[in-house]
């Protein structure tokens, strides 16, 4: 039969999504439902001196009002799940509602539960709070200096950790280098902006003592774990269901106070409670991304060999250590400083800094875009310094294709790669030499064209559980699948991952269909309910296909092996003589003697005629724990024109060549690349979360935060090379974050190339017209 693995079939999840029949968390209605609303701090940093909830409690329809003081002994503070070792990490308590101090504008102060959403909102306005404002600050570099306002008493200078990555001898390399370049780079705060805001519905059964929590989660099992800790409920009494989820981009990984407080209220009231964030609340409260101030140096020889990389990074964590917060700028950032290159000497010092802003956690790419950006920017700067072409310098420093597995100076072992091949492919699509000619011609006419190249790698498929433990991640990183064949032959696959747009209901069905010789219509992927799915660790870090997909394949193979034994029995043949051919089990040499997979499934479920000792039923569970991470890679090239009168950046062409191993569904892979690239372009040219001096988020609504629109974004040309990974049975890597990791640096490289005549080496993103124009005028960099 035609191979289904590798085919761009239409998605199986789409019919419900295009007809309005999908159920997102806020769509749920339960009998007796009540509604919650939060009072949030208007101050970034202040002492709470008085709270009066009496008027709110008396308001019509109000059922309960909670303050920080009322819940602090009933709930365990919000845990941080990534306790990065060997960096003196300090994690101060994160109360679910503030009771003594608020530490960012948006910190929860009180919760109201009422008969309607409007009644809850109205009652919020009746709560009186007196605050004593304190000095704050959201700049991670400034907040780490002596004398900066002190956010947590237990964290001197707000420095949560000082983490060092080192390999080779960077000091020696820099001392001996012929060429050194350096840059200060600001990775601006970004707002993840999943189109669906967060929401939670909690329902408590007093009879059984079981809590059911529907929540917008990328990782329901992690949510169950953390919520059970905070609620002091045993894990088996907490069922987390993550229904349809409208995007996450990292923002729905963390456990937030909100869903826990809603759960507590549901337990107290004996009625279900719903809370749905609005966008302004989402921008204030749901985690932000990036927020680094980076000092970066690169050194090497005059003929273009890079010999050393050194960084000092101030990474803002926001007011509290979010679920994965400390791991993002360390493990997922510093360890990949070698990029696609053989850099023998690397040294990085990362300061994690608490600031009076919204907590910062994983946002698409999570640490890796901030690394790829600094490497790829500095490689360009270095090339320019020695008068070398940016393509040539990359070729000169690439890890050669015959050196894999390759161990970097930072101690990672890259699984597989062929970096020159991806670059060659990109150059076969976009004629570099011809563009350089056009560029020279255009310059004569006063037009400024530029070309940017990025060759990135990323660390994905997180990851071996043993490594997770060694780097302080508080969970495993294996994943799981239960493949269950029903009597009719229909297959349901219960997975530990939680797709929320990535299309695994289709790609995972393709994996099983390939294994069983089935149409995908016979296979259904089930996710998101901790009651029915085996323990898994969720969907993030471009891990689901490589890790959970591998579990699906292994479980399917186990099922097939049992079916084969059963088929042999039914065919009265020796097991060794039964082969899988044309989608059937047949006796070697007698192809007319055969059993379909469905026939074997029926007998396994009826068990009327089983081989001696074989258990009835046809299902298998697999827990797949990879032996290494996977390292997707690629080369992106884009061309731009900069209007020097206005500073406007126009993207002319964008070519993305990505290698994620064999694509299961090329249509879905391309869709992931499109979305990722556009998120990175947004980061490059328009997105920035801006706080004022007092810690107010000025870009607090969609009116102010520049989410990319259809009219602002280019057409993206995609292509692929295929280098299988040896670390999982599918050979796949991951592609969810690749586009974002590559594209921000690619666009900025192109703009800086266009502006060479102005002597401009670097402009901090986002490259808004105002910033570009100011740079062209030789003006100072405008305030962030």
């Amino acid at each position: 039969m035609a191979t289904i693995f590798g085919s761009g079939i239409k998605r199986r999840e789409d019919p419900r999504l295009i007809t309005g029949a999908a159920t997102y968390t806020d769509d749920l209605k339960l009998s007796g439902l009540t509604y919650a609303a939060f009072l949030r701090s208007p101050y970034a940093h202040a002492r709470i001196t008085r709270i009066d909830i009496s008027e709110a409690e008396r308001a019509p329809g109000v059922l309960a009002v909670y303050t920080g003081a009322a819940v602090k002994d009933r709930l365990v503070p919000v845990p941080c799940a990534w306790n990065v070792p060997n960096c003196n990490l300090k994690i101060p308590p994160h109360p679910l509602l503030a009771y003594d101090k608020v530490r960012y504008a948006g910190d929860g102060v009180a919760l109201v539960v009422a008969e309607s959403r409007a009644a809850a909102r109205d009652a919020i306005d009746l709560i009186e709070v007196d605050y004593d404002p304190l000095p704050g600050g959201v700049d991670p570099e400034k907040m780490a200096q002596a004398g900066a306002p002190q956010l947590h008493e237990e964290v001197p200078n707000n420095v949560a950790f000082t983490w060092v990555v080192a390999g080779g001898d960077a000091e020696k390399a820099f001392n001996e280098a012929e060429v050194k370049v350096k840059e200060r780079i600001v990775q601006q705060r970004l707002l993840p902006t999943a189109m669906e805001c967060r929401a939670a519905v909690a329902s408590y059964n007093k009879g059984t003592g079981h809590l059911t929590l529907w929540v917008t989660s990328q990782n329901p099992h992690i949510h169950r774990f953390l919520c059970s800790v905070m609620l002091k409920l045993p894990e088996h009494r907490v069922r987390v269901i993550s229904p349809e989820v409208g995007g996450g981009f990292g923002s729905k990984i963390p456990a937030y106070p909100d869903e826990v407080l809603v759960s507590l209220a549901a337990m107290d009231l004996g009625r279900p409670v719903k809370w749905a964030e609005d966008r302004s609340e989402n921008y204030k409260v749901t985690i932000h991304g990036r927020d680094h101030v980076q000092y970066v140096e690169l050194c090497g020889t005059r003929d273009g060999k890079i010999t050393g990389l050194r960084t000092r990074v101030y990474a803002g964590l926001g007011a509290y250590a979010s679920t994965a917060g400390p791991g993002i700028p360390t493990i997922l950032h510093g360890l990949v400083y070698s990029g696609a290159y053989t850099i023998p000497n690397i040294h990085g010092t990362i300061y994690g800094v608490y600031t009076a802003g919204t907590p910062v956690d994983a946002y698409r790419g999570a640490g890796r875009p901030e690394a790829a950006f600094l490497i790829e920017r500095l490689v360009d700067t270095f090339a320019r310094e020695i008068g070398m072409d940016p393509i040539e310098i990359r070729r000169k420093n690439f890890i050669p294709a015959d050196k894999f597995p390759y161990t970097t100076a930072t101690g990672l072992t890259y699984d597989s790669g062929n970096y020159p091949a991806a670059l060659d492919k990109a150059l076969s699509i976009l004629d570099y030499k011809a563009f350089r000619k056009d560029q020279a011609e255009a310059r004569k006419q006063g037009r400024h064209l530029g070309i940017g190249v990025v060759s990135y790698i990323e660390i994905c498929g997180l990851g071996p559980s043993q490594v997770a433990g060694a780097v302080g991640f508080g969970g495993g990183l294996y994943d799981s699948a239960n493949v269950r064949v029903y009597p009719t032959g229909v297959v349901r696959v219960y997975i530990g991952g939680k797709p929320h747009g990535q299309g695994e209901e289709t790609t995972f069905a393709q994996i099983v269909a390939e294994e069983f010789g089935y149409p995908v219509e016979n296979i259904e992927i089930v996710s998101g309910d901790t009651e029915t799915t085996p323990q898994g660790w969720g969907t993030y870090g471009s891990r689901t296909t490589a890790v959970c997909g591998s579990a699906v394949k292994v479980a399917a193979q186990r099922v097939k092996e049992k079916a084969r034994k059963l088929a042999a029995h039914l065919l009265e043949a020796n097991e060794q003589d039964v082969e899988w051919k044309d989608g059937k089990f047949s006796v070697r040499g007698s192809p007319d003697q055969s059993k379909t997979f469905a026939e074997a499934a029926l007998m396994a479920n009826l068990a009327w005629n089983m081989p001696a000792g074989m258990e009835p039923g046809l299902e298998a569970t697999a827990f797949f724990d990879p032996t290494n991470f996977v390292y997707p890679f690629g080369s992106h090239i884009c061309t731009v024109e900069v209007d020097i009168e206005t500073g406007q950046v126009h993207i002319l062409r964008y070519v993305a060549v990505d290698d994620c191993g064999p694509p299961i569904n090329p249509m879905i892979v391309d869709g992931q690349v499109h979305g990722g690239v556009v998120q990175g372009i947004g980061e490059a040219i328009q997105e920035i979360a801006i706080y004022d001096e007092s810690g107010q988020l000025l870009t607090g609504t969609m009116m102010d935060y520049a989410v990319p629109k259809a009219s602002q974004m280019p057409h993206i040309e995609t292509a692929h090379t295929v280098t299988p990974s040896p670390v999982n049975p599918l050979g796949v890597k991951g592609v969810g974050e690749a586009g974002t990791i590559a594209s921000a640096a690619c666009v900025v490289n192109a703009v800086c190339d266009a502006l060479q005549p102005f002597g401009i080496r670097h402009i901090d993103k986002p490259l808004t017209p105002a910033r570009v124009w100011a740079a062209i005028q030789g003006g100072k960099e405008i305030a962030r």
Partner: protein
């Protein structure tokens, strides 16, 4: 003080008793259980709540329900079913014009209006026409492809439009 409002929703006359401040989107979702209309912002930027009012694409968070008295509202549930998809629904499926699906209903209804006004739009016209609808997943590329494909189908079979 609550008051009744009568709307024609997806061809059926329906009445709800609402607060004067109730937004159309809330009445559709809460009173009529038409949860295919989504809420993605609170400043009328994102377009996730787009519906058709008398055939024109309108962000249903910009309308008080009481303003829509006696008007004909069409939501995503009203333009096609899984067995009889609207050409735009079919094209979004065919061209992978959605990932998480949250923006999709609003996106499709905006495109219905767009194609009614301009049956053969260029890529630029489509991108401009969808400016009021945000998508964070697809990078818009396959949405544009879907609208182009639907336009072609609908030009070939204008009766198939269904709205």
């Amino acid at each position: 003080m609550k008051r009744p409002v009568t709307l024609t929703v997806n061809g059926t006359v329906r009445t709800a008793v609402v607060e004067p401040r109730s937004l159309l989107v809330h009445v559709l979702r809460d009173d009529f259980n038409l949860t295919g209309t989504h809420i993605g912002c609170d400043t009328s930027q994102c377009g996730a709540c787009t519906v058709l009012i008398d055939g024109l694409a309108v962000k249903s968070c910009t309308q008080l329900a009481v303003q829509c008295e006696e008007q004909a509202i069409t939501t995503i549930e009203g333009i096609g079913t899984v067995d009889a998809l609207h050409p735009l629904q079919a094209a979004f499926w065919e061209k992978h014009g959605l990932q998480c699906g949250f923006c999709t209903p609003g996106m499709i209804l905006t495109a219905v209006d767009l194609l009614a006004r301009n049956p053969d739009p260029s890529e630029e016209e489509i991108r401009h026409g969808l400016e009021g609808n945000y998508c964070r997943c697809t990078g818009y590329q396959n949405i544009v492809a879907a609208v182009q494909a639907a336009a072609k189908t609908m030009r070939a079979e204008p009766a198939g439009a269904g709205v």
